[in-house]
């Protein structure tokens, strides 16, 4: 582009021609003769490795790389530099004033501005280049530059932290052993002490048990459970609670949801017809079961990516491949051939995000701008999925294999359509009209220690085994990403934020770990513990760090220094997510149907929200009310009509992987809890539950409301306020009362409603 605008040749110096001549001989020290003709310069020639190479890599190489270099000028090697570009020679060794490259750089034309912002080199950088050219532009023999060899302040290289092997560092020794329950605390405390901070005191037992219940099973403890724990003075009281919860089948229901967010789970295709994806719920149940049975994480990955290719393949392992079927699917794309590449992007994206936390999809049209992921890597991953049902076919298969191909009925699964596949071409700029080289399936090149080509499938194979090989690469104990990514997710859900706060991006544009040694230690522990997740949960839950209070005696002072709590000087206060909130409302009202698994229920949706559906013939049919009292995990997720109650409370977008939901506070949430039928129905059920036990004794009633809703007894002041509310209500509700619903009952409903809306109900200490 810019180079080619100047077609005239620059004055050519003889010395450069000499360099041309020598380049075929592999000579690398170029153009030194001219430099030696000069008077001794009054500056030291810049050091190539230390000063010039990083500058060229950072500021020039992105466009002036080896393949299809901008303006025909490549800057990857000395030969390339000296052979110049479309506009002629780039530099004249020893003559900066005659060097076109320097002219372009000095004028600020290079590097070109981006989005209207000048990228001009600094005076120091320009001076370095000048001095280098002046001194003969020496380039070490055989040295080629690579855009990704080092990290700079604009881009991550192969030396980026998350791509380095996991280094297990033993926990630091700390003096205050009373503040250390296990190794996690040692890492945390050491960092706190370095900053001159003290951790918060231990949380009260009542708040703590509430925290851990939500954390592990997504429901609150009952008043009795709280009381029993408070009364239990034994040394292992906490451990027993943790063990019991981790063994509860509700653990899987709580934690499966986090995984479903990551794999963009929904039960329809999206777009015009928004067809149901039959048996998607079996994948959901597979996740719940996998977690509850503590399936090792490596197996968890293998089954989802390649459950059909495993030697011990079973119907269950093929159900797991449903992960690859969950994406949106348009049966009427604008261009069916282009759409194949959209589907590949979905599969590459979900795989690289969920398991590796890298944004590989950014390399679909070009080399990644920020991470060492060349475009060929994107296509290597794409080629892994290419042998599946990517080609357009009869819409009744919803973009997947037929039952015969899959080998099972009533399974939403994935498989290759044969042991071979058409070659996949890289597309220049992502355009189908510009096919490039054929790319073989493979994994990411930047993990050099694991670089190995994929094997062809065995002779008797019915699939290409590419997914199996990719999955094995992912779960290789030497893979630097997989275990770090997983323990970070576990940490995030236990503590409210990750050690890496961008759980889906371990690349340059992500956040860096606050506690790298701890992250590595945990990652190594996971592998040492044979990838069992429950062991990791327990480790985190047993730490003092988990059990500290969300309130710190020196809050104001510490908050000024570390408002984001990156040192973990206190526990994070958290709002219940959409599922926990809805489930708790049903639970405290005594209504929650705890049936596990099976097809999803359809929630009632108000007519106003139903307006949004285009198809009247496919009008929404809500399930019977009884079924609607199941946990939110089992709520049918239709892409064209997500439940307003859930989305209002930040249910994730179901189109792309979500590693961390937004947490917003908005008036529409208040409206939903204040006014929705769902909310009022729960208040009524809770009041009825109370009246069934307390009859019309107001004191008993108030105490029961608090016990059920908040797991504690009211304070004297709260009791007083509540009684006043009931008394007022008995007057106020006279017009609305009937013989069955007395003013007393309606008043009690009103009190219940207030508690279900209160901050204490919605926030977790």
């Amino acid at each position: 582009m810019r180079w080619s605008r100047r077609l005239y040749l620059r004055p050519v110096l003889a010395v450069a021609v000499a360099a041309f001549g020598s380049h075929s001989l592999g000579c690398a020290t170029l153009a030194f003769t001219r430099a030696s003709d000069l008077d001794a310069p009054d500056f030291a020639a810049p050091d190539f490795e230390r000063q010039i190479a990083p500058l060229l890599i950072k500021r020039c190489l992105e466009c002036h790389q080896e393949k299809d270099p901008a303006g025909g000028l490549s800057l990857v090697s000395g030969e390339a530099l000296m052979s110049g570009g479309d506009s002629g020679l780039a530099i004249s060794s020893g003559a900066p004033e005659e060097s076109y490259l320097l002219e372009r750089v000095q004028s600020g034309e290079m590097p070109p501005e981006q989005k209207g912002i000048s990228q001009q080199l600094s005076d120091e950088e320009i001076a370095l280049l000048q001095q280098w050219v002046q001194a003969g532009a020496t380039w070490p023999e055989q040295r080629t530059l690579d855009l990704y060899e080092i990290t700079s302040d604009v881009r991550g290289g192969r030396d980026w932290w998350s791509l380095q092997r996991i280094e297990r560092v033993e926990p630091p020794e700390v003096k205050q052993v009373d503040l250390v329950s296990n190794s996690i605390d040692a890492f945390i405390l050491a960092r706190l002490q370095l900053a001159g901070l003290e951790p918060a005191p231990l949380e009260s037992k009542r708040k703590l048990i509430r925290r851990v219940y939500y954390d592990v099973i997504g429901l609150p403890p009952t008043y009795e459970e709280v009381a029993a724990f408070e009364a239990d003075e034994s040394a292992n009281a906490w451990q027993r609670v943790v063990d019991r919860l981790l063994e509860s089948p509700q653990y899987g229901e709580r934690w499966a949801r986090y995984w479903l967010d990551l794999v963009r789970f929904a039960e329809t295709s999206g777009y015009e017809r928004d067809q149901e994806k039959p048996f998607a719920w079996r994948y959901r149940d597979w996740v719940v079961d996998a977690l509850n049975s503590d399936m090792p994480y490596d197996r968890f990955v293998l089954e989802q990516l390649a459950g059909d290719e495993l030697p011990d393949r079973s119907e269950r392992s093929v159900v797991a491949t449903g992960m690859l079927r969950l994406g949106t699917w348009n049966d009427e794309p604008n261009d069916p051939d282009d759409y194949k590449y959209e589907r590949l992007e979905d599969l590459v994206h979900v795989t690289s995000t969920a398991f590796l936390s890298l944004t590989v999809k950014c390399a679909r049209c070009h080399d990644h701008k920020f991470d060492p992921i060349p475009q060929t890597d994107y296509y290597q991953l794409a080629a892994v999925f290419w042998p599946g049902a990517i080609e357009p076919r009869d819409r009744k298969w919803l973009g997947g294999p037929t039952e015969e191909e899959l080998g099972f009925e009533n399974v939403l699964g994935w498989t290759d359509l044969g042991a071979t596949a058409e070659p996949l071409h890289l597309l220049k700029l992502g355009e189908r009209s510009r096919p490039g080289e054929v790319i073989a399936a493979g994994a990411l090149s930047s993990v050099r220690s694991l670089a190995r080509p994929f094997e062809p499938p065995p002779a008797d194979a019915t699939t290409t085994t590419r997914r199996l090989q990719l999955a094995r690469w992912i779960v290789d104990s030497q893979n630097p990403l997989t275990s770090r990514v997983l323990v970070n997710r576990l940490w995030q859900h236990h503590f409210g934020a990750g050690l890496v706060r961008t759980p889906n991006n371990f690349g340059f544009n992500g956040d860096q770990p606050t506690h790298p040694a701890l992250l590595d230690w945990l990652a190594d522990e996971l592998i040492q513990g044979e990838w069992r997740m429950k062991r990791m949960h327990k480790l985190m839950l047993m730490s003092r760090t988990f059990r500290q209070s969300s309130i710190h005696p020196r809050f104001d002072q510490y908050n000024e220094r570390d408002a984001a709590n990156r040192h973990w000087w206190r526990a994070e206060r958290r709002r219940l997510d959409a599922e926990a909130l809805r489930d708790t409302m049903l639970y405290v009202a005594g209504e929650l149907d705890e049936t596990q698994g099976g097809p999803s229920f359809h929630a009632s949706v108000s007519p106003n929200a139903l307006q949004g559906l285009s198809r009247k013939d496919a009008a929404w049919e809500a399930s019977p009310q009884a079924q609607q009292r199941r946990r939110s995990l089992y709520m049918f997720a239709q892409r064209s009509l997500l439940s307003p109650m859930m989305t209002t409370f930040d249910f994730c977008d179901t189109v792309a992987p979500c590693g961390k939901r937004d947490v917003t506070t908005a008036a529409t949430q208040a409206l939903a809890l204040l006014n929705s039928t769902f909310s009022h129905d729960r208040s009524r059920a809770l009041a009825k539950r109370v009246v069934d036990l307390a009859a019309d004794d107001p004191q008993q009633q108030v105490r029961l409301v608090w016990r059920f809703a908040l797991g504690r007894l009211p304070t004297a002041f709260e009791e007083q306020l509540a009684q006043a509310h009931l008394a007022e209500g008995r007057q106020r509700f006279r017009p609305a009362a009937t013989t069955e619903r007395t003013t007393g009952l309606i008043s009690l409903e009103s009190l219940c409603h207030v508690l279900l809306n209160s901050n204490e109900f919605v926030y977790l200490d």
Binding site: Q114, E272, A564, S614, L755
Partner: protein, 487 residues
């Protein structure tokens, strides 16, 4: 092509905190972070600059006239050659096929007939003499306000993906819609009403549903709110009957006292305080949202002008009137759908242009004219950008021999802009002599979006949202602001 624009992954300066692990309540806190490497290399530059309310009205990138936008979405795709793109050549070539060198996708594999002239007459309107067909005789009277862009083209011939594209910039679902971007960039001026309102056609929602007004990967706070033009316009504005305003006040008062106690024991609980505030706001919304759609305070003359209470204009007229009331009350972005559901319930005139456009035109013509006139009379037109158009256009040839309908056409279609700093009484761009394909000053849908954002004071290249390692924007790597349409 300018290569630097091909690749959008560059940093712009509006990285948002959600990626960094803080919610809204955390905004103020995270902005205090130092640049210490321990705090990450990308300390946060939030769009709200330390405010805790992401909906707070925010300064535009540059001074602009338009403060609000009303997008009149003609769902189903009106025919350009029958409405705002006069093609006399079609009379000359009537009955002949489209020349063979014109290639296109025959959407849905439908019958291909012959070039067919406009089904109704075109006549000049206003001083500018812009030609508008008899499907829009009332709008024609406001020709001097219209900037008619005849050279639009888009990326899909299928309703589902084209609608999503017209709303979100891409043919696939999952991205924030135009209204969400406006709300994200500008906030809204009335905190007691949603900042981005969508009113659908009674016959149904648009194909693909919710993703058309979704906030995609942005927080759901920025998504469009469905509004009903009568009664309680939004979800959950009212509880059961016995919960009167008095009762609710008593409930809220008790809740506040309980919450105060709860907060007193939790120093620094900004998020707790924010939640208390959200209840007060919700309480006000309950009164103000119904008031916003209560047209009983409008003069009879105004109501009649919009065609409210008459058929077939009642529904769309009411929506237009409510749109004006919303904009008057500080709502940032209002989108009205004409046509809902499928096929002939929308502007999708496969069967008959005359029947379909005759019906839908009659429903919207008078209301749109009234809206333009009303906005002008109230001095609001300069500050309100009105956008008219569908997701694509229609073919200049019939769908089958002597057939009265026309098939989909993404290669050339017409949209118009009015008010909000737009130059009226002009055409921009042109299709070929058949009205088949944009040929002169082509305007891609990214260009339309870039121009709408510009008119709203937003730079489409700077308005970006950091998501999954990439600066995302409405126009992605494309988009060109069409300065020629500005006054």
């Amino acid at each position: 092509m300018d290569r630097s624009r091909l690749f959008p992954c560059g940093h712009s300066r509006r990285e948002f905190v959600w990626e960094m692990g803080a919610g809204f309540a955390g905004l103020a806190l995270t902005s205090l972070l130092s640049a210490d490497s321990f705090f990450g290399h990308q300390a946060v530059a939030a769009r709200v600059g330390g405010a805790t309310n992401p909906m707070a009205s925010a300064a535009p990138h540059f001074a602009s006239q338009a403060k609000a936008c009303i997008f009149l979405m003609m769902n189903g795709a009106p025919s350009q050659v029958d409405t705002f793109d006069y093609k006399p050549a079609l009379e000359k070539y009537a009955g002949q096929p489209l020349p063979e060198d014109k290639s296109y996708t025959n959407s849905g594999g439908r019958k291909v007939g012959y070039l067919t002239p406009a089904w109704r007459k075109f006549r000049p309107g206003g001083e500018s003499g812009l030609l508008v067909s008899d499907y829009f005789p009332e709008v024609r009277k406001h020709a001097d306000k219209l900037c008619v862009i005849n050279s639009c083209h888009t990326d899909s011939h299928a309703h589902g993906s084209a609608l999503v594209a017209m709303n979100t910039g891409k043919t696939f679902i999952g991205r924030p819609s135009l209204g969400s971007w406006c709300l994200y960039g500008l906030g809204t001026e009335n905190q007691s009403l949603p900042g981005y309102v969508v009113m659908l056609d009674k016959r149904g929602g648009p194909i693909s549903g919710q993703p058309n007004w979704s906030s995609g990967f942005m927080p759901s706070t920025f998504s469009g709110t469905l509004f009903r033009p009568i009664g309680d316009p939004i979800l959950d504005l009212r509880g059961p009957e016995h919960v009167t305003p008095d009762v609710q006040r008593a409930q809220l008062d008790l809740m506040v006292r309980l919450n105060q106690q709860h907060m007193a024991q939790r120093p620094g609980g900004h998020e707790l305080a924010a939640r208390v505030e959200s209840y007060e706001l919700a309480y006000r919304m309950q009164a103000e949202a119904p008031e916003a759609v209560d047209i009983s305070t409008e003069s009879q003359q105004t109501v009649a002008k919009y065609g409210v209470g008459q058929e077939p204009t009642d529904e769309f007229g009411r929506n237009c009137l409510v749109a004006r009331r919303l904009v008057e009350r500080g709502v940032r972005f209002v989108q009205l759908y004409s046509g809902g559901g499928h096929l002939e319930e929308t502007w999708d005139a496969h069967e008959s242009i005359e029947k379909n456009h005759g019906q839908h035109g009659a429903e919207v013509d008078q209301p749109i004219a009234a809206l333009l006139e009303d906005l002008e009379q109230r001095g609001m037109l300069d500050e309100t950008l009105v956008v008219w158009g569908g997701e694509f256009g229609r073919m200049p040839f019939s769908e089958g021999q002597n057939a009265p309908g026309r098939n989909h056409n993404p290669y050339g279609f017409t949209m118009w802009l009015a008010g909000g700093g737009v130059r009226g009484g002009m055409h921009y761009g042109a299709t070929d002599e058949f009205g088949f394909q944009a040929v002169e000053n082509k305007v891609h849908l990214h260009d339309i979006h870039a121009t709408i954002l510009h008119l709203m004071g937003l730079d489409h290249q700077r308005l970006s949202y950091f998501h999954q390692g990439r600066q995302e924007s409405l126009t992605d790597v494309g988009g060109r602001v069409i300065h020629d349409v500005m006054a």
